[in-house]
Amino acid sequence: MTTAATMPETIMIDVARYHPEHDEEPQYERFEVPYRSDWVVLDALNHIKDQDDGSLTYRWSCRMGVCGSCGMMVNGVPVLTCAAFLRDYLPGPVRVEPLAGFPVERDLVVDLKDFIGKLSAVKPWIIREEETPLSEGEYKQSPGQLADFKQFSMCINCMLCYSACPVYQHEEEFVGPAALALAQRYNADSRDEGNAERYPLIWSDDGIWDCTFVGECSEVCPKHVDPAGAIQSAKLESTVGWYTSFLPLGRKRD
């Protein structure tokens, strides 16, 4: 902790600015904002937008680490800016950039299209071979069966894991940590019967096998989903599937 005597009055924020109609590439603009020990980076951005430049563009919503909108690179590390305290970046300056690995739309806003497409590609919903009619009641699940996937269901789609993943930075086709963890969440759900529909994509070279278990995704995950662990579990399942595909009664390879 910084003592009152050394507490600065202000802190410098270097913000990446990009306007697609004027700029060839992003440029940095420096703003001086008041320093408060209880301010987060998002507070500083709101102060800049309010006091200095109303055209500064970024996403945010809940301000409490639930919505997953305000992910940005702060000093090169992907974080939720609503949970990144200025006091942890003293004395500054603090460099704020859009999430790495995604096309920038404007200033700190990135294009979500690729991520959203990958999320839906893993079919993140409960698939039943036959839907039971409502009159027969709900699909029951024990607390233990819930524990099998609960951790993987905490994802808030903030995309920090994609920005942290060294593989995603050069493999555009890689399905990526959050979507693969979500696939694992449904595959491990006792109510779901859709594993076979998800395997062709997640077991492909663009799925889990692009992952080299660097583990950065799990380091930056604000919800402790551990996507790297989810992918390792899926690799184990896929390997068992690969070997049993050679057995007479094994699942055939696609």
Binding site: P166, V167, H170, E171, P200, L201, W203, S204, D205, D206, G207, W209, T212, V214, K235, S238, T239, G241, W242, Y243, R253, D254
Partner: protein, 110 residues
């Protein structure tokens, strides 16, 4: 979607990683330090290594550690940004590992 052949390479990588983790530190202590220090006699070494089980263990460890190292090297190069010539690099690295295994098999069983 084409089924991946990575499960085979990954299972060898994993088995090799586990075996290496379990045996390599002890083997380095034996052959890197106890042996030059003179704590182990030639006769004992000869007995252990000419035993058929000893021969198979040497070959097995070599195969698994080489498979492990080759796989890790190949993927680390991609992580470091060497993303071109993937097939050529894979063939070269796995080829080198296979060459090492064949050499060991000749040493152990010839």
């Amino acid at each position: 979607m084409r089924a991946s052949n990575e499960p085979f390479f990954w299972s060898m990588f994993s088995a090799g990683g586990m075996v290496a983790a379990m045996v390599i530190p002890a083997l380095i202590i034996v052959t890197g330090f106890l042996l030059p220090a003179g704590a182990i006699g030639f006769d004992r070494l000869n007995t252990v290594l000419t035993n058929p089980i000893g021969r198979f263990v040497v070959l097995g460890i070599t195969f698994l550690v080489f498979a492990h190292a080759a796989h890790r090297l190949r993927h680390t190069m991609i992580d470091l940004g060497v993303t071109q010539f993937r097939l050529q690099i894979a063939v070269a690295i796995y080829g080198l590992a296979l060459g090492g295994v064949i050499w060991t098999a000749i040493v152990v069983f010839a």
